[in-house]
């Protein structure tokens, strides 16, 4: 008979052997996927945070260099699609027949790409406070990162709201359906629904104000990154959309104190010669990136989107900006805003979508003055721009200073000429509560759409509606 003692000893021995393999069960199952980094690990140090910031700018470029940037041009009345344009060239948006199933077209992509950028930005904001605690020595850098991320978050919310929700002015208190407001990245089962446009704009304004505070007194270093000036400029535009004329003017004042206009060759070089331009406030850099709106729309080999006569006919023959409209052998016109003539290799050439620049600030401020009834101030701003465009002195420009309607027409035409192909046109029309009127010669089947109109927004993608049961669609276009 084996004694109790030895018996126990033997059980113990067996245990020891097995115990070796179980010194720490939970550690054994903690595995980092090689070649990737889990989110908490990436944001555990400054290097990871910095790379995430770079990545976030990259995702912003991705949506600015594709459907989102084209949509307000295609849906507006200043750009025509040539025969042969396909649904990939936004034919649905051109003809206002976008449908919720357009998952791999503008309807799906704009939604997807903006929210993809937003999640990357929100992750930065989510992990920034813990890094501040861990690395107090990097407080300055981390604060600036937060300031940039807040700006980017505001921009994402603003942009997605322009496409999928009626403009701020659609209802008197902007309580109509907006887009989801996201300040943290939701999980697969969180199913965040839509907020009202007012709530969306409240968040945008808050983020921009917070951003400006966080930037403090730091100066803008380049136009390729967010800055205090960029925050002010975006707030200027947001305020304009909200009809907050005083804030629009105040912000434009701040911006224009530090950013000049670009003149002459410098103006053209910011499109054609790899330069940011004197008047650039915020611009996304496409270095080593393919540019979808360049290759799919404006490339010489397969031009699909061209300036409509409604646009071309607005220009004075002396206009500087006519240098940005080319003409082929058959008399067909095309935009040269995305034609890079710099003498670098093709890989080095980049096509950088403008987000904010000084010319827009003059236009914003002029519009605010006009709405406030201060025609003199409005005229002054317009004259500065027109003089620049006609390569004249301001004193040489004469405008009908006492006629509101005439001034408004000049302002709107000037806005169309200045910001064409830069993602403003259609958003301006709907924000002005205008009907969409295209020329009779337009290649679109839609020549006229009255404001207000359910078709002035894109449908919420069907996949989103199916995956997120708190999501509601847009009237008519979704149902």
């Amino acid at each position: 008979m084996i004694s109790k003692y030895t018996k126990n000893k033997k059980v113990l021995l067996a245990l020891c052997i097995s115990g070796v393999f179980c010194t720490s069960c939970s550690d054994f199952l903690e595995v980092q996927p090689p070649g990737q980094t889990t989110i908490p690990v990436l944001f555990s140090d400054m290097d990871g945070m910095r790379s995430a910031v770079i990545g976030a700018y990259g995702t912003m470029f991705d949506y600015y260099s594709s459907e989102f940037y084209m949509y307000p041009e295609i849906a507006g009345n200043m750009v025509s699609l040539k025969a042969g344009a396909t649904i990939e060239n936004m034919l649905h948006e051109y003809n206002f027949i976008s449908n919720p199933d357009d998952e791999t077209l503008a309807t799906g992509y704009i939604w997807k790409k903006i929210f993809s950028a937003l999640t990357n930005v929100n992750n930065i904001l989510e992990y920034q406070p813990s890094l501040m605690e861990t690395f107090p020595e990097y407080t300055t850098e981390l604060t600036k990162i937060r300031a940039q991320a807040l700006f980017l978050r505001a921009l994402c919310h603003f942009d997605v709201c322009l496409v999928y929700a009626q403009p701020y002015s659609y209802t008197s208190d902007a309580t109509h359906l907006g887009v989801p407001v996201l300040t943290v990245t939701p999980g697969a089962d969180d199913n965040v629904g839509r907020s009202s446009v007012q709530e969306v704009y409240t968040q945008i304004v808050k983020d921009l104000n917070d951003s400006q505070k966080a930037f403090g007194n730091t100066q803008m270093t380049d136009a390729w990154h967010a800055s205090k000036t960029a925050s002010q400029a975006l707030l200027c535009r947001v305020s304009l959309y909200m009809g907050d004329w005083d804030e629009t003017i105040r912000m434009a004042d701040s911006v224009l104190q530090v950013v000049p206009l670009a003149y002459g060759q410098n103006y053209l070089d910011m499109y054609n010669n790899n330069e940011a331009g004197d008047e650039a406030i915020f611009r996304l850099n496409g270095y080593h990136k393919s540019s979808w709106f360049y290759t799919n729309f404006y490339a010489a080999s397969s031009i699909k989107a061209v300036p409509a006569d409604t646009l071309y006919n607005l220009f004075d023959p002396q206009d500087l900006r006519l240098s940005l409209i080319g003409q082929d052998a058959n008399g067909g016109r095309f935009s040269l805003k995305y034609r890079n003539n710099s003498s670098v290799s093709d890989l080095e050439k980049h096509y950088d979508p403008f987000v904010l620049r000084a010319s827009e600030m003059y236009l914003n401020r002029a519009e605010a003055w006009l709405n406030k009834g201060e025609l003199g101030n409005a005229t002054a701003d317009l004259k500065i721009l027109i003089a620049r465009n006609l390569k004249k002195e301001v004193s040489e420009i004469f405008l009908p200073e006492s006629n509101v309607d005439s001034l408004q027409l000049i302002l709107r035409q000037e806005r169309a000429k200045e910001l064409c192909f830069e993602g403003h046109q259609f958003f301006d029309i709907v924000r002005w509560k205008q009907d969409l009127i295209r020329s009779a010669a337009s290649t679109s089947v839609v020549k006229f759409l009255a404001y207000p109109n359910d078709r002035f927004v894109l449908p919420i993608p069907q996949t989103e509606l199916e995956a997120n049961h708190n999501m509601v669609g847009n009237p008519t276009v979704n149902y």
């Binding site: 393999f21 090689p34 990545g55 700018y57 937003l118 990357n120 199913n191 270095y287 989103e464 049961h469």
Partner: protein
């Protein structure tokens, strides 16, 4: 929460488990050594001492034991069996070893007085068919009333004969048919016993974690294929080997396209278990899970996936057990839901003289022409092409294929299948040695296998070595080391669809014998009437075959280290550490001399890739096996264990191009190069336990549980519990049950859960990936996968019921029915874009698989000279998708996932033939009306590709020295969509580029024609080639997989001094035929569409020498 508990009290947990740990691993009776010295004790006392030493329990009737008689036992390490023989035989008793029970019986008639009757003595030897000695066989003289004797370690016996004039001896042995021999002289007799079919069915079945059970004691569902069954089958790869052998298991091609000359197979145990996690069974070799590729058996990091199951030498396999229901698979927890296949390799048979087996096989193979996809010859092609050309409104003088200096279309007629297929050959030689002493058992083998495929340019070679050694250090501790290593050389060339697709009017070479790289055809006629010739590239893969390189070299190793420690006679501890390693090197080079090695601008470049992919799985298993018998009636067993598994894979790949010439090839010398790498790690940790209880061989109960942790899942859901319960009832062992008709009646029912964690690499915490040009040329990181902390295991709930009934001695039916429900099914689904991801894996949906499977074993004839036995197996499975995410149906290519439907449901537009008026294609619209418009909205749920019944049939006929084996597999019902057939029935659309199915000959030609193929129109799409039911075939077939005729010769070692004790010659045919009921002569049907390549038929000659 669960996880925290584990992490906080890990060590305590282990103690807790160990204290409960009660278990024993069964050892074969021959292996149990007895060291005992007893003098003049009662028989019962001797029994008690023997029980203690051996772990066996004696069962006997009281009146049998001579209570007064004193006996002595002297044994120093002798086997239990030998001790028993010495102890019991003089007492007129005999015994049977029944699992862990020794049943002591009286010999038929009690001995009178043995000594007085002793007249003559006979000596002899009892062996099995392979001339291996049978230890412990019982030899009795018939009608003598004398006790018998048992054979010794060498199978020898000595028996005193009665004084009767004629002596007839009977020899019996468990698992063998009783034999009778008439003895007429003093010559030693050799008695060879044939295996008994009925007894064989009660074979020992290998179960999970070191358990061995007799088939009649099984509670769960396990089907075992022993070495004998596979010895004549092709040994190239293991997965394919089991086709048609295991009820409930189906082996099908992964693709019906010509995508890989080493096709991947889908193995399905009882249907598709999952949508997007793996549906493949788990392979466990000698207790250690092995890597068989990812969830569709694809091997990452290499451009050609060669099945890792081809790296195992089938000759080393002792048995393959397929576990199917919850009770047998739950203990494998999170990976058991698709069934578990346990492979046990041969081990040292314990004591005995070394036995060496040398076997060799050589065979030749040809493609089976009946299964070769039939395409047009040159004349037929030209007729159709010209007809299509003019039908499309073109003028004949502009017909593209007109003779020119480059191509003589009118005289060329190439059968491309001849260009790509040749005569294959297989040769293999295997040398194995087995033997051992009291302390050491060993099995050694070395093997070489070579297969030249019928697809030219393909060769598989395997050099393998295997060594299984068990060392008994003392009565308590033993050590086992199993090593098997194989080096696999695979030369690859995939003609893809070229062998049927290239036009017959092209030739592979130019007139000067060089490979053809250009063809010239007429592109049109210029305005001035001159001909506009166009010379285009001809992507001639024959040149690629001859000039390019594509090979893999893989080292595959299985190593297993086992330490066994018998804590008590009833409680054994086993610590096992196993490693499965596969390191593959892949080398491809595209030569500058053909298009594959040229740049787009046709500049010679040469492309080279060098890839290395390593897959390493290590497993550590520590378990306690407990086995206790109480009062000889209650049998209690248990297992408790801990298993840790780590899967790691790493790979690098380098590409080079712009070589100066074709001799360099190495990436380091390329003009330009690039590289990449990958790595994956998954870890698992599991605690498992099983307890079973049986009462009097009548009632059985098994309970088991497993707790699994997996690093792929989020902390919230990382741990999961699985468990099962099963009962069975051996009705035939009841005292009230007394039937001469029904010899065995067993009922069983089991229920339990298991899981599926095999998803590939999934991260629940979300991941970021890096891009070196994220913004302004700087490296940045973006989120690639949003956090998904709630993703967890798929769970299967399996209910299994079975009945086994044996009628007379010769009919044995084992039937099981099951209902397997998969819940929390993992599927990659659209997710709200607000998360930053498009699709994530989610636990959504439910699916059921219901069906039955079974086997029927019949022995039709059994007598002294002849034995004919048959095994039939069959299975039926019905799959139903019960629940999908938000009821959203999901078209998946030509299939659809829809609630209430089979996951294999085809989703197609119904083809309605050809309009006899003008030869236009017709379809049915969604509401069943004829339409001439192809519209994807007219798709309907069509038939299911799941067959009604699948299975196989194995016939064995032994006649004297000859034996014949026939293996068939079959499938009844089911519909298959053929991608293959679709590609070559283009009705004119692709006539310019692709040869066509001979079925195109049945085209519409004139109004009124009731044709199968629409009017052929050159380069004009009528949508008739789009997916529709036109390309759906019924998939009923029967395949003659294997036919083997063997001649077995055994030599009596006492007479034969050559050292040779046995010889076997075999003539083997593989894949001799495939039949389908829908064949049309000279047309293509399912028979030609079944896989991307025709079947390979081979005939081989095998020889086996046994020396001991």
């Amino acid at each position: 929460m669960l996880c925290n508990r584990f992490s906080n009290s890990c060590v305590q947990k282990v103690f807790f488990i160990a204290i409960l740990w009660l278990s024993v691993q069964s050892l074969l009776a021959q292996d149990v050594p007895v060291t005992l010295s007893l003098r003049d004790v009662t028989v019962r006392e001797a029994f008690v001492r023997l029980e203690k030493q051996s772990g066996y329990t004696f069962l006997y009737k009281q009146e049998v034991l001579p209570t007064a008689k004193k006996v002595s036992v002297q044994s120093n390490g002798n086997s239990l069996e030998k001790v028993l023989i010495e102890l019991l035989t003089p007492l007129g008793l005999t015994f049977e070893l029944d699992d862990k029970v020794i049943i002591v019986k009286l010999l038929k008639q009690a001995p009178k007085d043995a000594k007085t009757e002793k007249k003559a003595i006979v000596t002899g030897r009892v062996v099995n068919l392979m001339n291996e000695p049978l230890i412990g066989a019982t030899i009795v003289e018939k009608h003598s009333g004398k006790p018998g004797v048992a054979t010794d370690l060498d199978g020898n016996f000595t028996l005193a004969l009665s004084d009767k004039p004629e002596h007839v001896l009977t020899a019996t042995f468990i698992g063998m048919k009783q034999a009778e021999v008439t003895v007429d002289g003093q010559e030693p007799v050799l008695i060879r016993l044939n295996p008994s079919n009925v007894q064989l069915n009660d074979m020992v079945v290998v179960g999970a974690y070191g358990t061995l059970q007799k088939r009649s004691d099984l509670v769960g569902s396990a089907f075992q294929v022993n070495a004998e069954k596979i010895k004549n089958l092709p040994t190239g790869r293991l997965d394919n080997l089991l086709d048609g052998m295991v009820p409930g298991m189906q082996v099908t091609f992964n693709s019906d396209l010509a995508s890989n000359t080493r096709p991947r197979y889908n193995l399905r145990v009882r249907g598709e278990g999952s949508l997007e996690a793996s549906s493949e069974p788990l392979w466990v070799v000698d207790g250690v899970p092995i890597y068989t590729g990812d969830k569709t058996n694809l091997v990452p990091g290499l451009s050609t996936s060669i099945g890792p199951l081809s790296y195992i030498n089938a000759e080393d396999i002792e048995s393959i057990t397929v576990l199917k229901d919850a009770t047998s698979t739950s203990i494998y927890g999170a990976n058991g839901s698709n069934g578990v296949i346990l492979v046990t390799t041969k081990s040292g048979s314990g004591r005995g003289k070394p036995k060496m087996t040398l076997s060799s096989r050589f065979g030749v193979a040809k493609i089976n022409k009946g299964t070769l996809f039939k395409v047009l010859n040159a004349e037929e092609y030209m007729t159709l092409a010209k007809e299509a050309w003019t039908n499309a409104g073109n003028k004949m003088n502009a017909f593209p294929f007109q003779d020119n200096t480059m191509n003589s279309y009118s005289t060329t007629d190439t059968d491309w299948s001849d260009v790509y297929y040749g005569t294959g050959s297989t040769s293999q030689v295997n040398l194995s040695l087995t033997g051992g002493t009291d302390k050491v058992g060993y099995y050694l083998s070395g093997s070489y296998y070579n297969n030249n495929l019928t697809v030219k340019g393909n060769e598989q070679q395997r050099y393998s070595l295997s060594s299984n050694t068990d060392v008994r250090i003392n009565s308590k501790i033993s050590l086992g080391v199993n090593l098997s290593v194989s080096y696999n050389v695979n030369d690859l060339f995939n003609p893809g669809d070229d062998y049927y697709n290239i036009l017959p009017i092209y030739s592979p070479t130019n007139e000067d014998g060089t490979f053809r790289l250009h063809n010239t055809y007429l592109e049109g006629i210029n305005d001035n009437g001159s001909l506009n010739w166009s010379t285009v590239k001809f992507f001639n893969s024959v040149a690629e075959r001859e000039e390019n390189e594509n090979f893999q070299r893989t080292l595959a190793a299985n190593a297993n280290f086992l330490l066994k420690y018998d804590i008590l006679s009833t409680l054994k501890f086993t610590s096992q550490f196993g490693v499965n390693y596969q390191g593959a090197f892949e080398n491809t080079y595209s030569a500058r001399s053909n298009w594959s090695g040229m740049s787009l601008e046709t500049a010679p470049s040469g492309y080279s890739t060098r890839s290395n992919a390593n897959f390493m799985t290590w497993t550590s298993i520590n378990r306690l096996n407990y086995n206790q018998s109480i009062n000889k009636i209650h049998q209690i067993r248990g297992i408790l264990g801990l298993e840790a598994v780590s899967n790691e894979s790493y790979g690098v790949s380098a590409n080079g191009w712009d070589f100066v010439n074709d001799h360099i090839k190495e990436v380091s010398l390329a003009g330009d190069d690039s590289g990449s790498s990958f790595a994956y790690i998954t870890r698992k940790l599991s605690f498992f336990g099983e307890g079973s209880y049986s009462y009097d061989n009548r009632y059985y109960l098994t309970l088991n549980t497993r707790i699994d942790g997996n690093s792929d899942f989020g902390a919230d859901v990382r741990w999961a519990k699985f468990g099962s319960a099963g009962i069975s009832w051996n009705v035939h062992n009841e005292s009230f049950f007394n039937s001469n008709l029904i010899r065995l009646l067993k009922l069983k029912i089991t229920y339990g859960t298991n899981g599926n964690s095999r998803l590939g690499s999934v991260q629940s915490t979300g991941t970021y990936t890096f891009d070196d040009d994220a913004y302004m040329g700087y490296t940045g990181s973006t989120m690639s996968l949003s956090p998904n902390p709630k993703l967890s295991w798929e769970t299967s709930q399996i209910l299994n019921g079975g009945v086994r009934i044996k009628l007379w001695d010769w009919l044995d039916l084992d039937l099981e029915a099951y209902n397997k429900k998969t819940i929390n099914m993992i599927s990659k689904l659209d997710v709200s874009r607000l998360t930053g991801s498009n699709r994530v894996y989610r636990n959504m949906g439910e699916m059921s698989n219901q069906g039955f499977d079974g086997s029927l074993d019949v022995t039709f004839i059994e007598n002294k000279r002849m034995r004919w036995s048959s095994e039939f197996n069959f299975s039926h499975n019905k799959n139903t998708l019960l629940k999908l995410y938000n009821d959203i149906e999901k078209p998946m290519g030509v299939y659809i996932w829809k609630e209430g439907y089979d996951v294999n449901t085809l989703y197609l537009i119904r083809w309605a033939g050809v309009d006899p008026r003008d030869g236009a294609p017709l379809w049915l619209d969604a509401s069943g009306n004829l339409t001439r418009v192809y519209n994807i909205k007219n798709r309907v749920e069509w038939k299911s590709s799941a067959p009604d019944l699948t299975g196989g049939c194995n016939q064995t006929l032994d006649y004297g020295h000859f034996s014949l084996n026939v293996l068939l597999s079959y499938q009844l019902g089911g519909y298959g969509f053929s991608d293959f057939g679709r590609g070559v029935s283009s009705d004119g659309l692709n006539y310019m580029d692709e040869n066509q199915s001979v079925n195109q000959l049945d085209r519409w030609q004139k109004p009124g024609d009731l044709a199968m193929t629409p009017k052929v129109l050159w380069n004009i799409s009528t949508s008739s080639v789009m997916n529709s039911t036109r390309y759906v075939y019924r998939t009923t077939y029967a395949q003659l997989r294997n036919l083997a005729i063997s001649y077995n010769l055994m030599f009596d070692p006492k007479k034969n001094t050559s050292g040779l004790s046995g010889l076997r010659l075999s003539l083997i045919g593989d894949n001799l035929g495939l039949w389908t009921p829908y064949d049309q002569k000279n047309r293509n049907s399912y028979r030609q569409n079944r896989s991307g390549y025709p079947m390979e038929t081979s005939v081989s000659l095998g020889v086996e020498f046994i020396l001991n």
